[in-house]
Subunit: 431 residues, 2 copies
C-alpha cells in the first residue's frame, strides 16, 4: 500500500493513474477471428472453441435437458438468495420506466418522445474461476423489463462442454431466450455477424477479459452497440473518523480480490483512520482464499490523506471511481457533490458487495475513469428513445417562415421548398 | 428511381441495402494524425489546418471581436428564425428532464438513481457548402440544459481564416464556451487529447464527412464517448391514397439534396400514389439549385409498392429509417407499431424539414440502420445516471444472508466477509 499525505493537486493525475493495458497486439488476433467467423460461421466458432476452451462441440446451444439438469444442481439455499436478489433488481429497474413526454412547442406543433426496446440483445458471461451468475441477473432482468424479444447469452463451456449450472439456472429464470456454449472473441464475433446457430444481435453487454474487451470494441465497427468500454474493477472509499476501520478494510479487500489489476483507494481526512484501516487490511487479507490476487492489488493501492472534505471531493470527481463508498459524518456533502462515479454506497452498513449482488442497483458500471462520460447499465441501456412530431396546418403556418429562412441560409433549397409548397396550399384554401 | 412491386420478404435486405463506404484506408491517416497531435499539440493542429483547410493559423480561438463581428453580419430575419427554433428546441428538451427515482427495494434498503451532466462536451460542426448552424442549436441547447460546464465547438475556417458567421452567432447565443477554428480529423484528435489551446473533452457530438466519422470512431479507443456512429442521411415515407403527392415529392427531394449518397425511399400501398409522386419528383427536381446532387440520390432511390399496411410496417422496422414520414389514413397503426426509427413525422403538414430546424425535436439521428440500437441525440445524451444506495442495520440484516450465499457461490470470499463482519457486529450489539 502506498501511503500518501496531502498530495498537491498537480500530482493527482500521476498518483491516481490506473494500471492500464495496451491492446494493439490483441486487435490483430481479434480482426482475424472476426473475419473467419463472418465467412465460415459455426465451423469457425467450433474451431476457436476447441482452441481456446479446449472442448470440441458440434452444437452450442444448451438443451432443455441440460437446463433441467442445471436447475436440479443448484442448491435451494442459492436459489432463494438469487430469488431475493432478482426481486430487488426487478423493483429498482421497473421503477426506471419512463412514460411518453409530450410538448406543444408552438401552437399546433406537437412533439413527443417515447422509448422502444432494443429487440436483440447479446449477453456475455465469463466462465473461469468466478462463475458470474449475478451478472446474468443484472443484464437479463432489465432486458426483460425493457421488452427485448430476443436475449442471447454466450458463456464459455468447461472441458466437459458444460456451462456452470448457476449461470444456466439464472439465465433460464430471467427469460434468456438462447443459452450458448461459446466463449471469448468467438462469442462476440458470432453475436456481431450471426451464424447458423447464433442470432445476430443489436447490442452486446457484459464483462470479460482483455480479449473480450477488445472484441467488443471491435464489434462496434460493424454497427453493433456495446454497453460500455471495460477496464479493471475499482473502488474508492472516503472515510472520516466516523467510519469503522474493519468494515472499510473488508470493502477494500472485496474489491482487491477481483483481480491483481483491481484498484483500491482510501481517501481520508483522518490519519488515525488510515492507520487503523491499514492494520485491519494486514489482518484480514491473510484469511482470504484469493490471498495472492488480493495481495497484488493491495500492493498497488493508495491510502491518501487530505486536509479537507472539499479537497477530497475534488480529487474523487477527478478520479471518477466505478464504486464509491462514503463513510462520513458529512455524507450529504459528498452525495450532493459527487459528479463522476458509477455507483455510490452510503454509510457503515452499505458494503459494496450489497450492490454487487442484492440491493437492486446494477453492478455493470463504468471503470477506468469512464464515469465521467458513461453511465452504468440501467433500464435505458436496453431502450432507445424515438421522437415524433405532428403539425397542424395552423402549426406549419406558425413555424413555416422560420424554417424557410433557416433552410435558405444553409443553402438547402429543397428543404425550404417542402415548407413553401404546404404554405401555398394553405393560402389557396383560405382564399 | 427504382420502381419495385410487391417485393418478397427475402429480397428486403438486398433491395434496401444502403450505399456504404469502407473506411480501412482512412483509418491509417487518422491514426497517424492522432499520434502527431497527441505528441505535438497545437503545432500539429496548425500543420494539418494548413494542409487540409488551406489556411495557416497561429491561434485557433474565435475572439470576442470576431464574435461581435459575426453577430453583426447575421441578418435580423435569420436571427428571429433562429430564436424561434431555439425556443422550441429548448421547450422540448427541457421537458425531458427526469427527477430522482427512489425505491426501498427491501425494508431498510434504499436505492436511488440521479442524473449528472457530462461536464466537458465537444461539438463538431462541418463547414463547406452548407453551414450547419442549425446543428449548433441541436447540440448546444441540450448540453446547456443538462448543465455541462464546458462546451467546446470546432468548425473548419474558410481560406480567410473565418468560421461562417451564422455558426459563430448560434454558438455564442447557445452558451458555447469556446469556439475554435479547427476542422476535420485534427479537430477530433485535439478534443480527444487536449492541446495547449483545446480542452480535452469527455464526449464528442456532431456530423461530418467520412474523415470526421472515422476520427470519432477512432477517438473512442482513447476513452472519449461519441454521440453515435454516422452514415449518409436517409428518409423513408409511407404514403397511402390520403397523401399529397406533391408534398411527398418535396420531402423526398429535401432528403436527396443532402448528398449523392443520401437514401430516399417511398413505400406505398397505392400504385396511383407511386406514379403521382414519381411525376412530381421529375417536375420539382429541375428547379433545385442542388439539382445534380439530388439527381444522383434520386437515381438510387426506391419506390416500393406493398400489398398491406402490415407488410409495410414490417419492412420499415427492418430498414430502421433515420427519418420516417407517415402520410396515411391509418396513421395510428404506424405510430404504435414503429419500433426502429430516428424521428417520425406524421401527417401531410409535417415535413421533415420542420424537425431539421424548428419543431423542437432533435435532428441528430441514427442513420444506416442504427435506429435498431441507437437513439437520436436528446437531453440524456448529455447526462449520465448514477445509482446510490443506503442500507440501514435492519436492511443489511434483511439481505445480508443472500449476499453471503451468492458471494460464496461465485468464489468471492472477501465479498462475503464484508457482509459477515457487519452482521456479526450487529449481532454483538443486540446481545
Amino acid at each position: 500500500m502506498k501511503n500518501i499525505k496531502n498530495l498537491g493537486r498537480n500530482s493527482w493525475a500521476e498518483v491516481l493513474k490506473r494500471p492500464t493495458n495496451t491492446y494493439e497486439d490483441i486487435e490483430q488476433t481479434v480482426a482475424s477471428i472476426f473475419k473467419e467467423i463472418q465467412i465460415k460461421g459455426d465451423v469457425a466458432v467450433s474451431k476457436y472453441g476447441s482452441l481456446f476452451d479446449g472442448v470440441n462441440l458440434n452444437s452450442f446451444e444448451v438443451t432443455p435437458e441440460e437446463i433441467a439438469e442445471a436447475i436440479a444442481q443448484v442448491p435451494n439455499e442459492l436459489k432463494e438468495a438469487i430469488s431475493l436478489a432478482k426481486s430487488n433488481i426487478e423493483r429498482f429497474h421497473e421503477a426506471q420506466k419512463t412514460g411518453k413526454i409530450e410538448v406543444e412547442t408552438t401552437k399546433g406543433v406537437f412533439c413527443w418522445k417515447e422509448k422502444r426496446a432494443i429487440q436483440k440483445i447479446g449477453l456475455y458471461i465469463p466462465g473461469g474461476s468466478a462463475p458470474l451468475f449475478s451478472t446474468v441477473l443484472m443484464l437479463a432482468v432489465p432486458a426483460k423489463i425493457a421488452g427485448s424479444s430476443q436475449i442471447t447469452l454466450c458463456s464459455p463451456p468447461n472441458k466437459s462442454g458444460k456451462i456452470n449450472p448457476a449461470i444456466v439456472y439464472a439465465a433460464s429464470l430471467c427469460g434468456v431466450t438462447k443459452i450458448l456454449k461459446i466463449g471469448g472473441i468467438q462469442a462476440i464475433a458470432a453475436m456481431t455477424f450471426g451464424t447458423e446457430t447464433v442470432d445476430k444481435v443489436y447490442k452486446i453487454f457484459g464483462p470479460g477479459n482483455q480479449f473480450v474487451t477488445v472484441a467488443k470494441q471491435f464489434a462496434t465497427k460493424f454497427g453493433v452497440a456495446i454497453d460500455m468500454p471495460a477496464g479493471p474493477s475499482e473502488l474508492l472509499v472516503f472515510a472520516d473518523d466516523t467510519a469503522n476501520a474493519s468494515f472499510v478494510a473488508s470493502d477494500l479487500l472485496s474489491q482487491a480480490e477481483h483481480g491483481s489489476d483491481s484498484q483500491v483507494i482510501l481517501v481520508s481526512t483522518s490519519e488515525k483512520m488510515i492507520d487503523a484501516v491499514s492494520k485491519e487490511i494486514d489482518t484480514q487479507i491473510k484469511l482470504l482464499p484469493r490471498y495472492e490476487t488480493a495481495q497484488k492489488a493491495i500492493a498497488n493501492s493508495r491510502l491518501i490523506l487530505v486536509e479537507t472534505d472539499e479537497i477530497a471531493l475534488d480529487l474523487i470527481n477527478d478520479y471518477a471511481p466505478e464504486h464509491f463508498i462514503i463513510c462520513a459524518e458529512n455524507e450529504n456533502f459528498f452525495i450532493d457533490g459527487i459528479e463522476n462515479a458509477g455507483s455510490v454506497f452510503i454509510g457503515n452498513y452499505t458494503p459494496e458487495s450489497a450492490g454487487d449482488y442484492a440491493s437492486g442497483t446494477n453492478h455493470t458500471l463504468p471503470t477506468n475513469g469512464f464515469a465521467k462520460n458513461y453511465e452504468g447499465v440501467n433500464l435505458d441501456s436496453f431502450l432507445k428513445s424515438m421522437t415524433f412530431q405532428k403539425i397542424t396546418p395552423k402549426g406549419i403556418q406558425n413555424i413555416g417562415k422560420a424554417i424557410e429562412i433557416m433552410a435558405e441560409a444553409e443553402g438547402l433549397q429543397a428543404h425550404k421548398n417542402a415548407v413553401t409548397l404546404r404554405l401555398k396550399e394553405l393560402q389557396k384554401r383560405t382564399k
